[in-house]
């Protein structure tokens, strides 16, 4: 108490107004300035404290409070300076100045280590700009996400195929509208229910087991694979469907999405196709029967007639006129012609019945052998035959293709070469599961309007030299190649030779 009294004891000093020669103005400038400074120095800490309190995120708040104390201390020194003009508490003033000095140095000490850290703080403006940018960006991303989401939703909602997502427990967590249409349930009836409601038995009872099995072993029977299964509608009816299932993880939980494609229409189509096929097969059998009757049963009487005519001719001898003999010869000739035609019909029939055997051959050797069968004719006609084929081993319907190729070579020798010169180029190319054979001659060529007709049975086109032929070679070739599952076509123009193209499936 004595200390405090001594602190404010003014007996040893005169008031400042009476110490020295103050003019009125000079004194009041000191007093008012000190008071104003005090007011300001008191306001600043108040504002600062308010700011720090309100913001909450101001960096280095302790330094801020030191600042406040230091400024406030400075303020009190100014207040005391003003008061001293009337109330000379110099001891108190000294204490305040000392306190201010200590607080100031404390602030300095606190500030020094903070400065390097404070320097790293981004400028507020920059910070603001970045913040703005970030906000902008976020808005874009959100818009993009919204758009993407709505697009995704549109795809899923308009998809013809059903899309169902289930969780690891087999509960439906999502189903698109197609699922409702396919199965006859509403979304509300589906969500949260076990997906086995969409299956007939035995899958219905076993599905939980399948799922558990998969979760335990990771052994996929359908997941990631997809296969044909049967779906069960709300009314209990079933339908064939193709189900493919994908798996995904979200937040550590496993989900499965199934895509369901209704196969009802395809099955109906397949059945219709099968019926059509059976009908076709029946027609084929009838045709076969007809061909058989024509080929065999008509041959019988022709053989008889020809035999009887021969005997008649022998027995009649001189009793017949020259004219009679001529007529008999013509009749016999007609019989021969008819027999030949029946023979060709039989040939077609044979091709249609021949069995398809796959054999492995070396492509080049295979072609060479077919060509070699014509060695004598090639030599006689002085035809140059070039073969361009890989040594590759292929599996094809050897006997069918061999016969077809022979017929085409025969055709090329007969119609694509002169009797004493010519060139035939045979090439083979392999591509995927097909072997393409091209047989090119340099003969007179075939008018495009006849291109299809050359493959018709008994069709013979007018040729420059009236080369004899059965009119069956190419028809047989086409049937043989078709029997082997391939096709034959030709490219030709008058005067530019002919190229036959045989496309043969490999196995």
């Amino acid at each position: 108490m004595a200390l405090l009294a001594q602190l404010f004891d003014t007996t040893d000093f005169p008031a400042r107004w009476y110490c020295g020669n103050w003019t009125e103005l000079h004194g009041w400038v000191h007093i008012i300035s000190d008071l104003l400074t005090f007011a300001a120095y008191t306001s600043i800490p108040l504002v600062l404290v308010y700011f720090v309190r309100k913001r909450g995120d101001v960096p280095f708040p302790r330094v801020f409070y030191l600042f406040c104390a230091f400024i406030f201390a400075c303020g009190t020194v100014h207040l005391v300076e003003a008061l001293i003009f009337w109330w000379p508490v110099y001891r108190f003033s000294a204490l305040m100045k000392a306190t201010t000095a200590v607080v100031s140095w404390a602030t300095v000490m606190a500030l020094i280590p903070v400065v390097p850290r404070a320097l790293k703080l981004p400028a507020l403006q920059k910070m603001n700009a970045e913040l703005q940018h970030e906000v902008e960006e976020r808005r874009h991303v959100e818009a993009f996400l919204r758009e993407s989401e709505s697009r995704f939703r549109a795809v899923v909602n308009t998809a013809v195929d059903g899309i169902v997502t289930i969780n690891a427990a087999g509960r439906i967590i999502f189903a698109n509208p197609a699922v409702e249409a396919l199965f006859g349930y509403t979304r509300e009836q589906l969500l949260g229910r076990n997906v086995n409601m969409l299956m007939p038995n035995p899958d219905r009872d076993n599905h939980d087991g399948y799922l558990a099995q998969y979760m335990r072993t990771g052994e996929a029977k359908i997941i990631g694979i997809g296969r044909e299964v049967v779906g069960r509608r709300a009314d209990g009816s079933t339908f064939p469907m193709y189900l493919s299932i994908g798996e995904f993880k979200q937040d550590g939980e496993r989900f499965f999405t199934g895509i369901i494609h209704d196969l009802t229409e395809r099955h109906e189509f397949e059945i219709a196709l099968q019926h059509a096929n059976e009908e076709l097969q029946q027609k084929r059998d009838e045709m076969e029967e007809f061909l058989s009757i024509v080929a065999h049963d008509l041959k019988h009487p022709i053989v008889s007639i020809q035999g009887l005519l021969t005997i008649m001719k022998k027995d009649a001898g001189d009793r017949l006129t020259e004219d009679d003999h001529q007529n008999l010869d013509l009749s016999l000739g007609e019989c021969t012609r008819m027999k030949e035609r029946l023979g060709r019909l039989n040939e077609l029939r044979r091709i249609n019945r021949v069995e398809v055997h796959m054999e492995t051959v070396t492509l080049r050797d295979f072609i060479q052998r077919s060509v070699d069968a014509f060695r004598t004719r090639i030599a006689e006609q002085q035809v140059a035959v070039e073969i361009e084929a890989p040594e590759a081993e292929v599996s094809l319907a050897r006997s069918l293709v061999d016969e077809a190729l022979s017929n085409v070579i025969d055709n090329a020798l007969s119609y694509g070469c002169e009797p004493d010169s010519g060139r035939i180029h045979i090439a083979a190319a392999l591509e995927d599961h097909t072997c393409t054979l091209t047989i090119r001659d340099e003969g007179p060529g075939i008018d495009p309007k006849h291109h299809e007709r050359v493959f018709e049975p008994f069709r013979r086109l007018p040729t420059p030299r009236n080369t004899p032929g059965s009119g069956m070679g190419l028809a047989a070739a086409r049937r043989l190649i078709q029997r082997a599952g391939g096709q034959i076509s030709l490219q030709s123009k008058v005067g530019q030779g002919t190229t036959f193209i045989l496309e043969i499936p490999l196995h």
Binding site: K299, H300, P301, Q306, G307, T310, I311, G343
Partner: protein, 152 residues
């Protein structure tokens, strides 16, 4: 001496015109022997002729007449030529009997099947009459001689 010999030929042919033609093709004599042709029109009758009634040869039943040569058509009513051939080859009395198939067929499968069943020759009727005559005569001669060779 030879002129007194006669050759028994059984012709199995359902078409009367073909039968007539084959008769004519064979002529009346082969190697100076008189040709006697017995003609039946179906397989049933042929088997009856050669193997006897019921054509089972397992009970010492009366065996039929064994001809020197059989000319057999393939497509026959009731029992067809293939079955007749099999039956002949299955029976001891006719196992070595020369059988020449005379058919309108020239199918490889038919021909192979006949040889497989034990036919001695196969003649296709579709060839012209003169050729048929030559073939019939040649084959008949060959198989008649072959049948006379010692059998071991």
């Amino acid at each position: 001496m030879l002129s007194t010999r006669s050759i028994q030929i059984l012709l199995v042919e359902d078409d009367p015109v073909h039968a007539r033609l084959i008769r004519r093709a064979l002529g009346e004599q082969i190697d100076g022997s008189v040709v006697c042709i017995e003609h039946v029109a179906d397989g049933e009758a042929a088997l009856e002729h050669m193997l006897g009634a019921g054509h089972s040869d397992d009970g010492g039943e009366q065996a039929g007449d064994s001809p020197d040569l059989v000319l057999l058509d393939l497509r026959l009513p009731s029992i067809d030529g293939f079955d007749v051939l099999s039956a002949l080859r299955a029976s001891d009395t006719t196992r070595r009997l020369p059988v020449v198939i005379v058919s309108t067929s020239d199918h490889e499968t038919d021909i192979n099947r006949c040889y497989g069943l034990g036919a001695n020759a196969f003649v296709t009727k579709s060839s012209d009459f003169d050729e048929l005559t030559d073939k019939m005569t040649q084959l008949s001669q060959f198989w008649l001689h072959a049948a006379e060779l010692p059998r071991n």
